[in-house]
Structures are given as C-alpha cells and as structure tokens.
C-alpha cells in the first residue's frame, strides 16, 4: 500500500495511482487524495471512468464463459479414484512403459512437488500467542484504527481458535450469548446468505475489549460478525462510506487477505470480517447492517 500527498502535478500523480485506486490497494488517506482530485478534475474523472469500465467489462466477458457441466463430476471421479490426469501421463503410457511403476513414480514426484511448491499459508500455532499477536499486528497495519478492532478479534477468535467438529446447538449458543444478546443470533442468521452455517456465537475478549462474536462457515470460508462497545471518540465517520444503500453507512477496507466492513449502531461498533471478495463482504455487511443496528439500539435502550 502507498500513501502520497498530492499537490504540484496532481493530475500526473493521480493517474499514476489510478490503477491501485481501482484495485482498492491504496491507503484510505491516499484514496481520499485521489477522490478529492477526481471530483475537481473532469479529465482525470474521465480517465478513471474509462479504466473502471474496462475492468467491469472484462470481468463480465470472462465470467460469461461457460464451464463444461461434466467437469466437476470428472474431478470428483478422479479424486475418489486417485488417478492422475490424462495429459500429463498419456505420453508415458503410450510409449509402452509398464504402468504401475510409472504411476507410482509420478505420484511420488507430484507429492514431492506439491509439498515443496504449495505449502499452505503458514499461520502461528494455536499455542503461539506472541506469534498470533505479531500476525494480527502485521496484517492490520494498514487499516484505519477503528477497523482494526473488528479484524483483530476475528483473527484472534475465528482463525486462531479451533472449533469442535460439530458446532454447539443453537440453544447452547443462545445460552452463551446471554439474555441481552441471544436475540442477535436469529437476526443475523436470517440475513446471512444461504449456505452459511453458524459455528460459534459467544462473548469473547481481545486486546482488553469485550465482544459479541458470531462466526459462520461456508465451504471452508469463515465470516464473522463482531460487535463491541465503542470507546469515546471512536468512529468510522472520518472514512468514506463504501456503501450506504441500506440506509446505514458501511465502511470497508482490505487488509492482507481479509475484508473488514464496519458500521455504527448507537454505542456499538459492528464489523463483518471475512476473506471473501470485496463486493461479497460489503454486500453481506450492508444486508446485515439495518437489522443488527436495530437490535443493538434496542439493547442500548
């Protein structure tokens, strides 16, 4: 991420950063510099529109490509059979090699290659608290302070804690949330997209602050709703809202592979954090915001 102060030669500087602006890779402050300039400069605004349109149309064109309907079934079949694909081995088999030693050697080569080349992302161990803190600090370094709160608790609680294989019952989760907050669970469950299942709902604390934390899972992807009481003067209002269509301004920024969306609800700050795509996370946050805000305002009253 880059931060720049625009001044002399603002058009040139703006255009140099337009690509990173479109990719949502600038610091919030630099984003604002770009936005401020574009609002005043029609030439740069036109250039931004053209570049944004190119990206949108490219994405639409690529995603219009149909996928062979039988491909998924073929992959499932191969995984379950444990066979290697035809293109990588057909030549060897056709050359008259005995099949089983070649297949065994190929498997060993593939396994060794995978081990060496695709190590999964290394995360601190569950017992490595200093490593976890360092990781959270590192990935949230570029975030606005008000958004760091939600990301920190999401990583601390959803990523670095292990869940039982089978989630607790809804009744148990509601009991863990307590009388005041148990009603939050059905409110959120009704608003998250289909396919997400709640795997954790509880009170937790991170960095000296207490939170209500709900975690959902879908196909291995985690999504958190983190709610905490705001400290004095703490507000995302200084940031530019990413979406306001629900009537509740939602502020969002990316940090490492995470998307962090936040919104205000009276004395509370609420966050939707995931490693979904930017638009998906923002859409979920925007959908959740009115219902969650209404619930929290009732709690506050």
């Amino acid at each position: 991420m880059n931060r720049v102060q625009f001044g002399e030669g603002a058009c040139e500087k703006t255009r140099k950063y337009l690509d990173s602006y479109i990719s949502n890779e600038l610091l919030i402050e630099t984003n604002h510099e770009v936005l401020r300039h574009v609002e005043r400069c029609s030439a740069c605004a036109g250039e931004l529109e053209t570049r944004t349109q190119l990206r949108t149309r490219l994405k639409a064109a690529v995603n219009a490509q149909s996928v062979p309907p039988e491909l998924q079934a073929r992959i499932r079949e191969k995984i379950r059979a444990g066979h290697s694909s035809s293109w990588s081995t057909a030549g060897w088999f056709a050359a008259g090699w005995p099949r089983w030693p070649v297949a065994m050697a190929a498997s060993l080569v593939i396994c060794a290659g995978v081990w060496l080349n695709y190590p999964p992302e290394k995360m601190p161990a569950i017992t490595d608290r200093p490593g976890q803190s360092a990781y959270i600090q590192r990935v949230s370094a570029t975030l606005a302070a008000v958004l760091k709160v939600g990301l920190g608790d999401h990583i601390h609680c959803s990523i670095f804690r292990k869940y039982p294989k089978d989630p607790p019952s809804v009744e148990k989760m509601e009991a863990d949330l307590g009388v005041s907050y148990k009603g939050l669970l059905p409110v959120v469950r009704a608003a998250v997209p289909d396919g997400y299942r709640v795997i954790m709902a509880h009170h937790c604390s991170y960095a000296g602050r207490s939170f209500i934390h709900l975690t959902f899972e879908k196909n291995g992807e985690l999504l958190s709703l983190v709610v905490g009481r705001r400290k004095e003067g703490e507000s995302p209002a200084g940031l530019a809202p990413a979406l306001e269509t629900s009537g509740v301004p939602v502020y969002q920024s990316a940090a490492d592979r995470y998307q962090v969306a936040g919104f205000e609800a009276g004395d509370f700050l609420a966050y939707v954090v995931s490693d979904l795509k930017r638009k998906a996370n923002l859409q979920i946050a925007s959908t959740l915001a009115p219902a969650v805000r209404e619930f929290l305002l009732k709690v506050q009253a």
Partner: protein
C-alpha cells in the same frame, strides 16, 4: 530385516483429509480456476485437463491445508505452477520482460475505449495481451485478488504485479482500439461521453 516392533505413526492416518471436506472447500472455486485456465491457454487447448490436474494435486496436499486459510489463493497457486510446466512442455509461449518505466507510463491517458464491443471482442483483445501481463490482469481485475495474494500466486514481487497490471490494462485497451478500428467501429468512449 524385520519390521516387528516398529509402529506406524497414527497421525499419518488421523490427519488424512476426507474427500467430502476437500470437495466442499475446493470445488466451489472450480469455475474461476477453469475460466482463468481457458483465458491463459485458449479454448480447446487442454484447460479441462489442466483443471483436473490442479484438483488432483490439491487433493494430494490437502492434509496440509488449514481451514480458514485462503483455499482459493492456494488453488490458483497450484494452477499457475501447473500452467507453467504445461506451457513449457506443450506450447510456444511469448515471454515478456517488465519495463522499468511502466509505472511512469500509467500517468498518461490511455486510448479511449470503444463504446460498442462484445464479450467476444473483449476476449479476443485479451488473448493478444502477452501471457505474463494477462495473468496479472485476470488475477486482479477478474478474480479480485489483492496485489499481495497475486504476488504469492505468481511467485513474483508485488512491484512486478503492479507494473504488469498497469501494462496489461493499457495493452488491453490498445488492443480493443485496434480491434474496433479493424471492425470499422468508429464510436469511442471518451471520459463518459460519446465522441
């Protein structure tokens, strides 16, 4: 040599991932993996086989995968590794070198975008963008990976991702203009207004 007394490590078996877990985590990304493979190899150039191989390799190392980490980025990393070997073996690929002055070039306005272009024309123009630039454009603009994730997937520095992205977007734009002119499409989009 007797093996009596030796014990197999039970973790080798207890850590073995289950097929249904792998399928639930990895298969939702198959369409994105396939479309990227097609755009890099060309339709009918074995993208189906590459995607199957990607999933087979991912399955074999899935025991190392940690729930909650970025499965999608991990699959794309395997895809690009597979494509690298596949292209070297089967295809004649134009390689490019990144220019040092690329970021400077992005300060200038690019050519205006043709107003009337179809998906097919957009994809045809994309095909003309050299592979290394095309790969970054696909990862950032279509798949919406962060610069950092894209750098990890391609195993290049973030600065290289940035320069290839800028250059790739610009080349795509130039290709579209060339294509539109060759089709006799005269109308162009200039800063939100039709010329």
């Amino acid at each position: 040599m007797s093996h009596r007394g030796k014990r197999l490590n039970p973790m080798l078996f207890s850590k073995k991932p289950r097929t249904d877990e792998f399928e639930a985590a990895a298969l939702p990304h198959m369409n994105d993996i396939y479309r990227t493979a097609v755009r890099l190899l060309g339709a009918g150039s074995g993208a189906d086989d590459v995607v199957q191989d990607v999933y087979l390799q991912a399955w074999k190392s899935f025991s190392q995968f940690e729930l909650g980490t970025n499965c999608r980025a991990w699959l794309f990393k395997i895809l690009f590794h597979t494509l690298h070997h596949y292209r070297r073996k089967w295809l004649n690929v134009r390689m490019v070198k990144d220019g040092e002055d690329i970021l400077e070039q992005t300060a200038a306005s690019g050519p205006p975008l043709p107003e009337q272009i179809t998906d097919e024309e957009m994809l045809a123009a994309l095909t003309e963008v050299p592979q290394d630039f095309r790969a970054v454009v696909l990862l950032i603009d279509v798949e919406e990976f962060s610069y950092k994730d894209a750098a990890g997937i391609l195993n290049v520095p973030i600065g290289t991702v940035m320069s290839r992205l800028s250059r790739g977007r610009r080349l795509l734009r130039e290709q579209l203009v060339d294509l539109a002119q060759s089709y006799g499409i005269g109308r162009i989009h200039q800063g939100g207004k039709s010329a």
